[in-house]
C-alpha cells in the first residue's frame, strides 16, 4: 500500500492581491489537497470511500469530510432491514423487487435506475457480509430475511433490528483498513467550489478548532443524507439537516422531487423515535381507540404491510375521525402498535433494539403492552438531481444516498430500500469518482469564491450581529412544516407556510452569540438553519405547485393522481428571488402506471 | 529492554504461577508457624534451627523466598509501568526491579545457607 502524505499548500493573500482578488478578514486559507473528497460519512459516504480506495488500488488520496464523528452519522439509526433478492430458488425474483419498488413509488421512479439497483443489491449484501457484518442467520448458516411493507416476498435482509448501525460499524471499521482514506471528522462543509462548471473542491469549517480550509480535489461526492430535521417530529437525529442539498443547490444543481417526504407510520410518541417497520413485518398490528384493526378498511390485502404512505394516511384518517388516543403531555394524537402477538421469544431475538428503546424512553415493554405511534418524518425521496450514475450537472461531482435523487424511490420509498440505495450508489459513485480522479488533473482554483465564503462565515456570521435567536427560527420553521407539510397537505396550508418561511429568511438571525473558535456549534447551527430555510422553501413550493396526490404527497384539494399532467419529476433551481421550478420526464421501461392496491 | 528478552505473556505466566505457589507456600508457612506448632514454640531458637535444617521445610523456605519476591517485584514493576510510558522509565523500571529481586533473593538465600550450614554460636 502506498503511503501518501497530505500535501497542504498555503494560500497567501498577498499574491492574490496583485491579481486583484477579493480579500479581507484573515490572511490565509489552508488548502487540504486530495484526489477525491467525500462529504458525509454515512453508509453512502463510507461505501463510496472504500470503493474509491479499492478501485484506485489505494493510489488515490481520499478525504472524508464529515460534520460528525465518522461512525455517528444518522445511518446508525436505520433499523429494520436492507432489501435484496437473495433466494430466487425459494421464489423471489429481480422482477418482483423491481415491480414492488416501482409500484411503491407510485410510478414516479425511473425504472432503468430501479433495475440497476435491484440487480446490484445481492452482491452488496454479500460484500458487507465479507467485511464482517453480523447479519442474522438461518439455521443452516446462510443470511436470514424477513417481511417488510409493500413487498411480495420477505426480502428485507436484517441484523436484529439494528441494521443501519451494524452496516455503519462494518463500513467504518473496514474503512480503517485503508491508509489512503483520511477522515476529517467534525468538519462542516459549507460550499462547493467549481470552475467553469467543473468541480474544484469544497470549503469547510473545522468545528473542533474553528479553522477554515479549502479541500481541493479532482472529484467529489456529496453523501450528506436527508433533511428530516425540517420537522421536529422526526425519526432523524439532530444532525440530519439538509447541508449537502443546500450546498449543491447553491452551486446551481437543481433539487429534484423535494415535495415527496416520507412519513413513517410508526414514530413513537412523543419523541418521534422510530419503531421499525420490521415490528409490523414480524406480526405487529395497528389498533385504534376502539381496539379495531383499522388497516383492513384501507388495505384489505396487505393490511399493516401496505406501503408506508398508505399506512400513514390511514392512521391520520383514524385520528382525524376521532378514533385516536391523545398524549396529554405533548398533545400529540396517536394509535396503538400492538406487538403482543409476536411472542416474547421472537421479540427478544429479532426486535431487541426497539424493545430497549420503548422500555427506556417510554417505560413500555412491547412484549406485553402496545406502543403509541403516529406518522413521523422519516425520509426525503427527493434530493440533489443526479443521473443514473449519481453524477450531478457539475463535472467531477457526484451525489449518493438520501442526499441524492436518482430516482429509485419516486413518490414513496419502500422500507429497506434506503440503506440498499446508499450501498449501491455509494459503490457506483465511489468507483466513478476514482476513475475520474485518476484521469483528470486538478482544476484551477477560483480563489475569489473561496475568500467570499470565508468572509461570509467569519465576517458575516461569527462576527456578525443580529437580534433574532437562530434556534427560535429553527423551531418556528419546524412548527410550520409539522403543521402544513405533513401527511395530508392543502394549497392554503402550503402557501401559508411558504410565506412564513420567506419571512423568516429575511429575519436577522445570521449571527453568533458564541464568539469562540473552539467547538463553536453556534456557528455551525446558524449555517444549518440557513440551509434549512432554503430547502424548506423548495419543499413547500414544489408541493404547492404539484396539484395532484401521488405517493407520499397527498393533497386534500387534489386527491387523485394525475398522470396526464404530473407524471414528471420536479426540478428546483436556485435564483435570488427563490426557487424556479422546471420538470423532467420519468423513465418508464416495462411497467406502465396503474392504480395501486395493497 | 525486558520485553525483548521475554514476552509479556511469559512474564505474566510467571506472575500467575508464582502467585499460586505463594498462596500455597504462605499458607503452609503460616499454619506451621502458628497452628501446627504453637506460636511461642515456633519462634524459639531451637525450633527455627530445626526447621531450617529440615530438608523439606528448608527447601520450602528457599522456594517461597524466590517465588514471593519474583511475584512481588514484578507486581511492583507493573504498577510502575502504568505510571509512566517513556522508554527511559520502562527501561529503568525493568532494570531496577530485576536488580532488586536478585539482591533481595541473594540476601535471603544467604540467611538460609548460613542457617543450614553455618556453625551455631
Amino acid at each position: 500500500m502506498k503511503q501518501v502524505k497530505n500535501v497542504s499548500e498555503v494560500f497567501h493573500w498577498e499574491s492574490q492581491r496583485q491579481k486583484g482578488c477579493y480579500f479581507e478578514a484573515r490572511s490565509v486559507v489552508e488548502v487540504i489537497k486530495s484526489d477525491v473528497v467525500i462529504v458525509g460519512s454515512g453508509i453512502a459516504g463510507l461505501r463510496a470511500a472504500i470503493e474509491a480506495a479499492r478501485a484506485s488500488n489505494s493510489r488515490l488520496e481520499i478525504s472524508i469530510v464529515t460534520k460528525v464523528q465518522a461512525m455517528r452519522s444518522h445511518s446508525v439509526s436505520a433499523e429494520g432491514g436492507t432489501a435484496a433478492v437473495l433466494y430466487p430458488e425459494l421464489g423471489d425474483s429481480f422482477e418482483s423487487h423491481i415491480f414492488d419498488t416501482v409500484k411503491g413509488s407510485d410510478y414516479l421512479a425511473d425504472q432503468d435506475a430501479v433495475e440497476r439497483f435491484v440487480l446490484a443489491m445481492p452482491s452488496e449484501i454479500y460484500q458487507l457480509e465479507h467485511w464482517g457484518m453480523p447479519w442474522s442467520r438461518r439455521e443452516d448458516g446462510r443470511i436470514a430475511q424477513r417481511w417488510f411493507g409493500g413487498y411480495s416476498y420477505p426480502r428485507a435482509t436484517f441484523a436484529e433490528d439494528k441494521v443501519g448501525f451494524f452496516e455503519m460499524q462494518t463500513l467504518y471499521d473496514t474503512a480503517t483498513k485503508y491508509d489512503s482514506i483520511k477522515f476529517y471528522q467534525e468538519w462542516f462543509a459549507t460550499s462547493i467550489v467549481k470552475y467553469q462548471n467543473k468541480f474544484v473542491g469544497v470549503t469547510a469549517l473545522d468545528i473542533k478548532k474553528g479553522d477554515f480550509a479549502f479541500f481541493k480535489a479532482k472529484a467529489g461526492i456529496i453523501a450528506t443524507g436527508g433533511s428530516g430535521r425540517l420537522y421536529s417530529f422526526a425519526t432523524y437525529g439532530y444532525s440530519a439537516t439538509p447541508d449537502g442539498m443546500h450546498m449543491a443547490y447553491k452551486a446551481g444543481i437543481p433539487l429534484k422531487d423535494m415535495e415527496f417526504i416520507q412519513f413513517h407510520p410508526s414514530g413513537m410518541v412523543p419523541s418521534g423515535i422510530l419503531i421499525t417497520e420490521a415490528a409490523r413485518g414480524e406480526g405487529g398490528i395497528l389498533l385504534n381507540k376502539e381496539g379495531e384493526r383499522f388497516m383492513k378498511r384501507y388495505a384489505p390485502e396487505k393490511l399493516e404491510l401496505a406501503s408506508r404512505d398508505v399506512v400513514s394516511r390511514a392512521i391520520i384518517t383514524e385520528i382525524e375521525q376521532g378514533r385516536g388516543f391523545k398524549d396529554e403531555a405533548s398533545g400529540l394524537e396517536y394509535v396503538h402498535l400492538d406487538l403482543t402477538g409476536i411472542g416474547e421469544k421472537k421479540i427478544k431475538e429479532r426486535l431487541n433494539g426497539i424493545r430497549e428503546i420503548a422500555l427506556k424512553f417510554r417505560g413500555i415493554d412491547i412484549i406485553s403492552e402496545p406502543v403509541p405511534v403516529r406518522p413521523v418524518c422519516h425520509y426525503v425521496m427527493g434530493g440533489i438531481d443526479v443521473n443514473i450514475d449519481g453524477a450531478t450537472s457539475i463535472a467531477g461531482l457526484w451525489a449518493a444516498g438520501e442526499a441524492a435523487c436518482v430516482s429509485i424511490n419516486g413518490a414513496n420509498r419502500l422500507g429497506a430500500n434506503s440503506t440498499a440505495e446508499c450501498l449501491v450508489w455509494g459503490k457506483i459513485t465511489g468507483e466513478l469518482a476514482a476513475r475520474y480522479a485518476t484521469e483528470k488533473q486538478h482544476e484551477q482554483t477560483p480563489w475569489e469564491d473561496v475568500m467570499m465564503e470565508e468572509k461570509r462565515i467569519f465576517d458575516g456570521i461569527l462576527h456578525g450581529s443580529g437580534s433574532v435567536n437562530p434556534y427560535e427560527i429553527r423551531d418556528n420553521l419546524q412548527r410550520e412544516m409539522d403543521a402544513n407539510a405533513y401527511v395530508f397537505r392543502t394549497g392554503d396550508g402550503l402557501l401559508h407556510a411558504l410565506k412564513r418561511i420567506r419571512e423568516m429568511k429575511k429575519q436577522d438571525f445570521r449571527h453568533c452569540e458564541d464568539k469562540s473558535r473552539r467547538y463553536n456549534t453556534n456557528l455551525k447551527d446558524v449555517l444549518e438553519v440557513e440551509g434549512m430555510l432554503e430547502v424548506a422553501e423548495v419543499v413547500l413550493l414544489s408541493a404547492l405547485t404539484r396539484t395532484e396526490s401521488r405517493g407520499a404527497h397527498a393533497r386534500r384539494d387534489y386527491p387523485n393522481r394525475d398522470d396526464k399532467n404530473w407524471l414528471k419529476h420536479t426540478l428546483a433551481f436556485r435564483t435570488e428571488e427563490g426557487p424556479k421550478l422546471d420538470y423532467k420526464p420519468v423513465v418508464i421501461t416495462k411497467y406502465q402506471p396503474a392504480e395501486r392496491h395493497y | 529492554m525486558g520485553d525483548k528478552i521475554m514476552t509479556e505473556r511469559k512474564i505474566m505466566m510467571i506472575q500467575y504461577v508464582t502467585g499460586i505457589l505463594s498462596v500455597f507456600l504462605v499458607s503452609v508457612h503460616l499454619l506451621y508457624q502458628g497452628v501446627i506448632v504453637p506460636y511461642e514454640k515456633a519462634i524459639s531458637f531451637s525450633q527455627v534451627l530445626s526447621l531450617y535444617r529440615h530438608i523439606f521445610y528448608g527447601s520450602m523456605l528457599e522456594i517461597l523466598l524466590v517465588v514471593i519476591l519474583v511475584h512481588g517485584f514484578n507486581g511492583l514493576r507493573i504498577i510502575l509501568l502504568e505510571l509512566n510510558q517513556s522508554q527511559d522509565w520502562s527501561k529503568a523500571v525493568d532494570i531496577i526491579t530485576v536488580i532488586a529481586t536478585v539482591v533481595t533473593i541473594a540476601y535471603g538465600t544467604r540467611t538460609v545457607i548460613l542457617a543450614v550450614f553455618g556453625g551455631v554460636s
Partner: protein
C-alpha cells in the same frame, strides 16, 4: 418538579485558566432527558455551551459525559431517574477536553484502528468479490453479537483505571472489539492481533476492575471480552489459523 437546575462545567482551554461551573434553570417536562435539558439551555439560555450529540436514541454514541459524577449517555438518562433537581454535567475523564462537554476522541479512534477491527482473510479475491456469504451458524453469531453492539461512545475508556495513567494501553473498547473479530468464525487475523496485544502496555495491563462493563450503556461487557481474549494471548494461539475461517456457501 417544574424546573431543573442544570450545572454545566464550562472550560475552553484556549481562553480559560481552569474549568468553572455555570448554572441554568431549565423548565422540566415529563420524559425529559439530560440531553434535552442541555439543548434547551444551549438553544435558549447560552448558545456557547459546547456539547456533542446527534441521534438522541443511544445509537450514535456522541453524548457520553459525567452526569452527577457518573459516566452515562445524556440522551439515555432521564431527568426523572436521577431523582435530583440539580444536575451536574461534566466532560468524560481520560479524554482531552475540546470545550465544555465536548471531548477529543482522536487517540481513542487511533487505538481502535491499531487492533485491526475488520475481517482478515486469506482468500482476498473472494473477500473483495463475493458470490455468496461465508457461512455462520446462529450460535456462532451469538458468540460475538453482544460485542458488536459497541457504539464507540467512550464511556468505558473514561472510567478505566489503567487508561487513566497508561497512555499506551489500548483501552476496553479497542480490546473488546479485537476479541469480537478474533472470535468471529469468518476471521483469520487472530494471531496478528494477539501479537499486537502482547506487550508491556497491552492486554495484560487490564486488571479486571470491571468498570468498563459497569458503565457500558449497550451491554457490551468489554471486561468479559478482554478476559476471554487474554486466554488466547496467553496460549499464543488464535482460535483459527490463516485459511481456516468459515467457507463461502456453495450450492
Amino acid at each position: 418538579m417544574s424546573y431543573v437546575k442544570l450545572v454545566v462545567q464550562r472550560y475552553d482551554p484556549e481562553r480559560d485558566e481552569k474549568p468553572r461551573f455555570q448554572e441554568y434553570i431549565v423548565p422540566y417536562r415529563k420524559g425529559m432527558t439530560v440531553l434535552d435539558a442541555i439543548l434547551y439551555a444551549r438553544d435558549y439560555l447560552d448558545h456557547s455551551i459546547g456539547v456533542r450529540f446527534s441521534c438522541r436514541m443511544a445509537s450514535c454514541g456522541s453524548c457520553g459525559m459525567k452526569i452527577n459524577g457518573k459516566p452515562a449517555l445524556a440522551c439515555y438518562t432521564q431527568v426523572s431517574e436521577l431523582g435530583t433537581e440539580r444536575i451536574v454535567v461534566q466532560p468524560m475523564d481520560n479524554f482531552p477536553v475540546i470545550k465544555d462537554l465536548a471531548t477529543d476522541f482522536e487517540e481513542f479512534f487511533e487505538k481502535h484502528k491499531e487492533l485491526m477491527p475488520y475481517l482478515v482473510r486469506e482468500d482476498r479475491a473472494e473477500q473483495e468479490n463475493p458470490k455468496s456469504e461465508y457461512l455462520m451458524k446462529p450460535e456462532e453469531l451469538e458468540r460475538i453479537l453482544q460485542f458488536t453492539y459497541c457504539i464507540k461512545c467512550g464511556l468505558c475508556y473514561s472510567v478505566c483505571p489503567t487508561v487513566g495513567t497508561d497512555k499506551l494501553f489500548p483501552g476496553p473498547q479497542a480490546i473488546a472489539q479485537a476479541y469480537r473479530y478474533v472470535e468471529d468464525v469468518r476471521d483469520e487475523g487472530g494471531e496478528t492481533r494477539l501479537n499486537i496485544l502482547d506487550n508491556p502496555h497491552g492486554i495484560w495491563r487490564c486488571h479486571f476492575a470491571g468498570s468498563c462493563s459497569a458503565v457500558c450503556p449497550k451491554g457490551v461487557d468489554p471486561a468479559l471480552g478482554i478476559q476471554l481474549l487474554r486466554r488466547y494471548v496467553m496460549r499464543g494461539k488464535a482460535p483459527r489459523k490463516k485459511g481456516e475461517g468459515s467457507k463461502p456457501f456453495t450450492k
